[in-house]
Subunit: 419 residues, 3 copies
C-alpha cells in the first residue's frame, strides 16, 4: 500500500482534471473501476459541477530568472484552481498572492479557491521572509474551462441487494494521509472483498470531496437510500496516530455500532468524535433527507494533527504499518457486518455442554474464561439480540463471540432467527 | 422596578385584606388588572376561602406606656392573621406570644397563623432578651371577619388561543425579595408583553400564595388545562444571588426545557432544583390532575438564603440590578417560547451558501465559528427538532440559532414545518 | 435458625441420595414439605437425572492402619460422587486422587465430579505435605446406582393465583453459608408466611443446585411462567458480610426493583452484582425461553469470600445475627411485594391536611420531615406510579411511604387504582 501511495504522491490532483483521472488509473490496476464524467454546469442538488482545472507548470522567478518557487518541485506551491497568469510585479503586490504559515514556518500550506477565481502561490514562511524587494515573474500555465468532474465506482455484487457503502476522496495533491491513504486503503479493501464470498453488495466510490459526494448522491440517491445498511467514509487512515471515528448525525446507526465495537475492543485508546466534529463527506451522506447510515473511519482525524493540509503530510508521516492498521480497522468493521446474526437457544434452561464435547476436559484459567464467555453468549442468545448487541452486553469483542456462535450452531444448540 | 418595590414595601399585606388590594392598585398603574373578589367560605377544591383579615395598629407597651414593639415601625412585628387583643399581662405570659430567632438575633421573623386563630408578636431576639420582668400591654387592633379573597388577572390576547401562564404572589408584608420582587418583575414583563406582537395569549395573575392558586385553579382549571403550553411561577427574583429554577413534577415540560436553556447559556453558574425542593405555587399547578407545565423561576430560592422570611429581606437585599437580571431571565424564557419553531432543510445535501451571500468573504475565527453554527443548524434542521432541541444538540444558545434560522428561512433554504 | 443449621451441618448431602432426604426431613419439622422423587435417567430439558449417590464410610489409612483422612470426621474429605474404591497404592499414585489448596493450606476444599466417574479425597494442604512415601489404603464405601433425585416443595395459597417464587438448594455437605443458610432462612420465611394473610401464592422449593432447578422447571414451567410475578433464589445468606443481590438477565424485573429498594434504604453499603456474575440457579430461571423474573439474594456472594467451598465455611462463619439479617432481607422484599399498590389523589390541588388531623400540631424537625414525605407522596400519587416507583422518585424507603399511603387511604384522600 505504501508503494502505491508513493507512486500516486507526485500527481497534482484537484476536484476535477487529469490528475484525478491519472490517480483513478493507478487504482484501476488493483480493482475494476468504472469511471464516470459529469459535465461542467450539471445541476447537482443545490450546486453546479464546476469548470475543469488543469495545470502544466508554474513558478515565481526573480529578476535574474532564478525560480524562487517551482510547481515542478512541489505542486502544493500553487493555490488549487488558480487562474493562469504571466506577469511581472513588485514584491509588495506579489505578497497579496502569497500564502504561508507563520506558526509552521517550514511547511508549505495547502490552499484552494474553487468557487472564487483568483491565482496564488503557497510557500513556507521561512522562504517568504527571505524574499527581497524587487520585481518578480509570476507564471501559472493553467486552464479553467468547461470540462467534467470525474469519479470512479466499483460495485461488488453480494448474495443480497442490501449494500455496504465505502466512500473515499482523491482530490488532494501531494499529501499522503489526507488524502492518499483513503483511496489506497479502500482499493486494497475492495481487492480483498472481491476475493471473498459476500453476503452484502459493496458500493465503493472514489470521488472528489464535497462536490463529488453531492454529485454522486444526486445521481444515485434513490437506490442508496433503499439498499445501504451501513456506510463508511474512509479518510486520513495511514498515519501512526490513534484510531478514531466520526459519528453519524444521531450516532445510532449500524455503522456507528460496528465502528464503536472495533474501537472498544481492538483500539480502546481511541478518539470518538461527535457529528459536530464532522468536516468531510459524512456531511453530505448524513444530511437531512439523505439520511444514510454513514460514519467516518480515520486514524488522526482531519484538522487534529499539525501536518494536516501542509507539505508535512508526506510519505514519512504515512507509514506501511500505519496503512496496514487502517486497512485492518476497515476490514474488521466489514467482517462484523458480514457476520452479524441473531441467534436463539434451542434448549430450555442451560444446555449440557459436556456431553457434546463443548466443555473443556482440562480446567485452566483460559478454558474457564472461554466457558464463561460461551455461557454468557447462551444467556443472551434469546432471539432479541444480534451478535453486536450481545458483544455490548457481555463486554467481549464481536470476534470472540462469533466462533462460539458458530460452534453452538453446528451443535444445534442455537438457531439463526430474524430479530 | 426598585422604585415600585420601595413604594409597595411599607404596606401590610396578607392572603386577604386591604393591604393586598392596595398593592394590586399600585400594580394597576403599570398594567391593566382585572380584580376579583371571592367570598369567605367559598369551597375551592379541598379548601374554603378563609376569613378576611385587616389590621390598623398593634403594639406592646411597658408599664410606663413606652412602646417596646410597634406595628407602625414594622408590620412584621405582628403574627399574620392575629386575632384582636387588648390586654395587660406579665412577661412570663407574654413570652408565649413572642417569636424570635436566636440564630439571627437582629432579625424580626415573619410568622403567620392562617388556619389556627391566635395572636402574637415577632421581635428580634436581642430586643426580646432586653425585656424586664413586669406587666405589659399587648394591643392588636385587627379584624378577622367574613369578607373575601382578592386577586388580579391580566389577560393579553395573542394570535392563538394557546397560552403562556405567569403567576406571582403578593401576600407577604414588608419583605422585598419574597415577595415584592415577583409581582413587580411580573408587572413589568406584562407591560413589555403588552407592547409586543404576541403569538401566544398570556394569562398573568397576582394572587395570594397557596390558597390563591388553589382558588384561581378552581375557577379556571378547564381552560388552563386546554390552553396552557408553558407556565412560570415567579418568586424571589430581585436579589443578587444565582439564578435558579424549580423543575415541574417530572421535569420534562416545555417550561423546563426553556428555563434550562436560558440557565445553561446565560447563567451557567446557576442552581437547578428538583420538584422535591418545591415550596411555592408550583405545588398546586403541578399537582396530580392539575398537571400544568409550570416551573418556578427565581434568583436566591425561597428557604435557601438567610434573609428569607425575616426583616433582613429588605430594600437593600433587593437591588435595581438584581430586579433587572430577574426581568431579563423571564423575558428570555418568553422570547424562546414565542420563537420556537421546527424547520426542515429544502435542499438535499448541504446547500451552497456562497452563491447566496451567506458565506463570509473574510475568513476569521469569528466568521468561521458563525459558519460552523449555521452548518450545525442545517445538519439538524430535518423537521424533527425544534430550535430548542437543536440548541441542546449543537450546544449553542437558542438566541444564537434563531437569527440563523430566520436568515435561512428568508433565503428559502429551510421551511417551517409541524414536528 | 443457627440451631437448625447446626443440626443439619454434619449430614453428607449431595445432589441425590439420603443426605438430601434427611435434610428435607429436618426442614419438615418447621414447614409442610411435599417431597418428590424423580427417577435416574428422566429427561429434563437437555439433561438426564443422574444416578443416585450414597456413601457410608471412607478413609485413607497408612501401612500401619492409622487413618490419615477420615470421612467420619469431615465429609468434605471425599470428592462428591466418588465411585467405590478399596485399594492399596503408593503415595505417588495416591497423589493423583488428592485435592488441596496451596493458598489456603489449612482448608479442606469442596470438590465434586457429578458427570465424570472418578474417586478422590480432599485434604488440607498442610496435611498433604506431611504424607510420607509408602503404601496407603484408599477406601470409599459408596454406591452410584439408579435411584432418584429428591426435592421438596411448599405451596402456600394466597388470595390470588399470582405467585412469588422462592428457591434454595440443599445439596452441599458440611458447609454452613453455602449452603445451609439458604434452606434454613427460606424455611423460616415459609413458616412466617404460613402465619400471614397473603395476597400472593408462594411457591417455595428446596432442590439440588442446577440439575434440581432444571428438573423442577421441566415439570412446572408452564404454570410458573403464567403465575410468577417475582422470584428469589436464596443462597449464602447467613454470614456477617455485606448484603448483595444478583440481577436478573436484563435487571429490570419486579424482583430487581424490590431487592434494589431494600438494599438502597436498609443496606446502602451493599454489593449489586450483574447477571454476568451469576453462578447459581438464577442461571436456569432467567435462561432464554424460561425468562422468569428471578434474582438472587445473598450476603457474601458465592465465589467472593475466601471461606467459599472449603471447610472454613463452618458454623463460626455463619452466625445467628448473620442468619437473622438474611431472614430480614428476604422478609422485607416480600413485604414490599405484598403491599405494593398504585394510588391516585382524590382531590385536585394539594389537600388540606390540617382539617383531617394529618398535619402535626407541633412543628419539629421530625414532624416537618414527615409532612414533607407525605406531601411528596401526594405529589406523585397520580395513578401512574406504584409505591416502589414513588419510593424511587422521592428517595424514601418503601416502608416509610406505605403507612402514609394507608393513612391517606383511610382519610379518603387517595384511592387505589390499576396502573
Amino acid at each position: 500500500m505504501h508503494h502505491l501511495v508513493a507512486r500516486a504522491f507526485p500527481i497534482c490532483r484537484s476536484i476535477t482534471g487529469d490528475g484525478f483521472r491519472e490517480t483513478l488509473k493507478i487504482l484501476s490496476e488493483i480493482i475494476p473501476l468504472k469511471v464516470y464524467e459529469v459535465p461542467t454546469g450539471t445541476l447537482v442538488f443545490d450546486w453546479n459541477v464546476p469548470k475543469e482545472w488543469n495545470i502544466r507548470d508554474a513558478f515565481i522567478a526573480d529578476s535574474e530568472g532564478h525560480k524562487i518557487v517551482d510547481f515542478q518541485k512541489c505542486n502544493l506551491h500553487v493555490v488549487g484552481y488558480s487562474t493562469p497568469v504571466d506577469q511581472w510585479l513588485p514584491l509588495s503586490e506579489l505578497q497579496n498572492h502569497l500564502y504561508s504559515l507563520p506558526d509552521q514556518p517550514d511547511a508549505i500550506p495547502y490552499i484552494t479557491s474553487y468557487y472564487k477565481e483568483r491565482w496564488g502561490f503557497c510557500i513556507s514562511h521561512n522562504e517568504r521572509l527571505k524574499l527581497k524587494e524587487g520585481n518578480y515573474h509570476a507564471f501559472i500555465d493553467s486552464t479553467l474551462e468547461d470540462g467534467s468532474l470525474t469519479y470512479g465506482e466499483c460495485i461488488l455484487k453480494g448474495e443480497c441487494e442490501q449494500e455496504v457503502f465505502l466512500s473515499t476522496y482523491a482530490c488532494h495533491p501531494s499529501m499522503a494521509n489526507n488524502e492518499l491513504s483513503g483511496p489506497v486503503v479502500t482499493a486494497f479493501i475492495a481487492k480483498w472483498l472481491a476475493s471473498q464470498l459476500r453476503k452484502y453488495t459493496y458500493r465503493i466510490i472514489f470521488i472528489p470531496e464535497t462536490i463529488g459526494s453531492i454529485t454522486y448522491l444526486s445521481r444515485n440517491l434513490e437506490v442508496m437510500k433503499k439498499n445501504i445498511r451501513a456506510g463508511f467514509n474512509i479518510s486520513c487512515i495511514g498515519d501512526m496516530g490513534k484510531f478514531s471515528y466520526v459519528a453519524s448525525r444521531y450516532g445510532n446507526t449500524l455503522a456507528d455500532k460496528v465502528a464503536l465495537n472495533v474501537l472498544t475492543y481492538a483500539h480502546p485508546d481511541c478518539n470518538k468524535y461527535s457529528y459536530l466534529d464532522r468536516r468531510s463527506d459524512e456531511r453530505q451522506y448524513c444530511s437531512p433527507g439523505v439520511d444514510l447510515p454513514v460514519v467516518t473511519l480515520s486514524r488522526s482525524l482531519y484538522g487534529t494533527y499539525p501536518e494536516y493540509h501542509t507539505s508535512l503530510d508526506n510519505l514519512d508521516f504515512v507509514t506501511p504499518e500505519g496503512l496496514f492498521g487502517g486497512y485492518d480497522y476497515v476490514k474488521k468493521c466489514i467482517e462484523i457486518i458480514e457476520n452479524n446474526r441473531t441467534y436463539r437457544l434451542t434448549t430450555l434452561a442451560e444446555p449440557q455442554l459436556g456431553k457434546r464435547g463443548l466443555y473443556p476436559n482440562l480446567s485452566t484459567k483460559e478454558t474457564a474464561a472461554a466457558v464463561e464467555t460461551m455461557m454468557d453468549f447462551i444467556a443472551y442468545a434469546d432471539g432479541t439480540n444480534d451478535l453486536l448487541q450481545i458483544s455490548s452486553i457481555i463486554q467481549k469483542p464481536f470476534w470472540e463471540i462469533l466462533p462460539i456462535a458458530q460452534k453452538l450452531l453446528e451443535a444445534g444448540l442455537v438457531e439463526e432467527t430474524q430479530q
